[in-house]
Amino acid sequence: MSDVSAQRLKGRVAFVSGGLRGIGLAVAERYLAEGAEVVLSDLDAEDSAPARDTMARLGQAASYLRADVTSEDDWLRARDLVKDRHGALHILVNNAGTDLTGPVETLALDAWRKIMAINVDGVFLGTKTFVPMMDDSGKAFRGGSSIINISSIMGLVGYSEVSAYNASKGAVRLFTKGIAVEFAQKKMAIRANSIHPGFVLTPLLNAGFQRWVDKGFAEKSSDLVETMAATTPIGRLADPSEIAGAAYFLASEDSSYMTGSEVVVDGGWTAQ
């Protein structure tokens, strides 16, 4: 029988990229509540107000570093910080991401490369950098270490004027399966799964909605929230904490036989 008590991540160390807001922040908060120590990264400077305020609220078990997920040097710094401060890493949440919308015939190549760099290179580099440490750290647990890559429902189905985002999130989906099979076959103590959130009330979604409002597609962004809610069988958008629940499940021993799986959290959107 698994331990069903609270604080099931006590003794674990987690790294969450894009951790200062949205889903990443909700995941960090949940892991801390379950007893883990958490290192967050984001693009904000370490002495910036968002970083200082958030870290003051999260407390001593959390730490922050500024890191760009597209920079291998930044990932190496992140690894050194985790090693020095904690000596182990059990959970990696490759969450940092950006969106890109527009008709394919007018997408700038630079914009395409930027979204691929953040959403795909970032996941690859984070994984590559931490795999040896996570393999070592995971040997103490039945379920091993856990890599959780945040994809999207847009990594499962196509959507008009979202092709670059579709491509990047589809890449995350299959990269995750590839490493899951690779780690398992090599008997490495790391599982890897992807989470596919539907529409979640995050700053990224709000910014995207605002761009649509600016383009005249809607009068105000709350209209778009209502439209998205209406196309979701559950009838509402998700709160970031509901994605954090899935990220917690995948980090915990409860998911010890899950690797290479897609965890869709979309209120039934892709079931239609």
């Binding site: 069988p233 559950i234 290479g260 079931a271």
Partner: protein
């Protein structure tokens, strides 16, 4: 997050052994009041003693038997929050070339009609909950929904069918404004008594075990409590935005090419 299921009432079909029994144990441990069904009285009695769950002798495929079971749950508990449509069989199954109509009908009656009746009656019961239509229904499919077996045709067919059933029910509940979620789980090979028995009674138990363990890149079978952990998560309010999903739990068996 201890006792995530405190105050919830759960129904587990086919709960006397295997994954069903694992779910009875786990849901009980997290605080739910569990009613489980099946036909093995001896196994049921032991599980009742161990967990405090209640047992009802019941066959999922018999449509007329459902009213009594649900009336019983309503009278005893006054609500239903969780239904795990788990009962399944493979007796009578075979390849498409060899299967008899009787064998086909037997597998379909339990694995497909039985699951439909479970979901139908669970929704009806959950609709009547005192705090409005709420609940979580979990359908036990299999990775064979995506990778069919040549020698277990009807099993493969029914496990694919119930994924669509779960999605249809999820969309229906959404359309109706019910806060009732429906999801499917797709386990890989799980070391249940059924599988252990197949291994040990075969001509070469060692080779059979190696074959089952070798299907997953993890080189082991899943454990019953590992599947029960996923059931408990989907049953809990933590999964409040999850509906219409199919969760594969197979140690990466279907993430790549089996054995390559």
């Amino acid at each position: 997050m201890a006792n995530r299921l405190e105050g919830k009432v759960a129904l587990v079909t086919g709960g006397t052994s295997g994954i069903g029994a694992g779910a009875v144990r786990r849901l009980s441990a997290e605080g739910a009041q569990v009613v489980f069904t099946g036909s093995n009285e001896a196994a049921a009695a032991a599980l009742v003693t161990e967990t405090g769950a209640a047992f009802r002798h019941h066959r999922v495929q018999e449509a007329a038997s459902w009213a009594g079971l649900m009336a019983d749950i309503a009278a005893t508990h006054g609500r239903l929050d969780i239904a795990f449509a788990n009962a399944g069989v493979e007796a009578g199954d075979g390849s498409v070339e060899d299967i008899t109509v009787e064998g086909w009908n037997n597998v379909l009656s339990v694995n497909q009609t039985g699951v439909m009746l479970t979901v139908q009656h669970a929704i009806r019961a959950m609709k009547a909950n005192p705090d409005g239509p709420t609940g979580s229904i979990i359908v036990n499919s299999s990775m064979n929904a995506h990778r069919a077996m040549g020698n277990f045709m009807a099993y493969s067919v029914t496990k694919a069918a119930v994924v669509a059933l779960a999605k249809s029910a999820a969309v229906h509940c959404g359309n109706k404004g019910y806060r009732i979620r429906v999801n499917a789980i797709l386990p890989g090979v799980v070391e249940t008594a059924l599988i252990t028995n197949l291994i040990e009674t075969g001509p070469d138990p060692k080779a059979a075990r190696a074959a089952y363990e070798g299907m997953s890149p993890l080189k082991r079978m899943g454990r019953v409590d590992e599947i029960a952990g996923l059931v408990a998560y989907l049953a809990s309010d933590e999964a409040a935005f999850i509906s219409g999903s199919e969760y594969v739990i197979d140690g990466a068996t279907t993430a790549g090419m089996m054995g390559v």
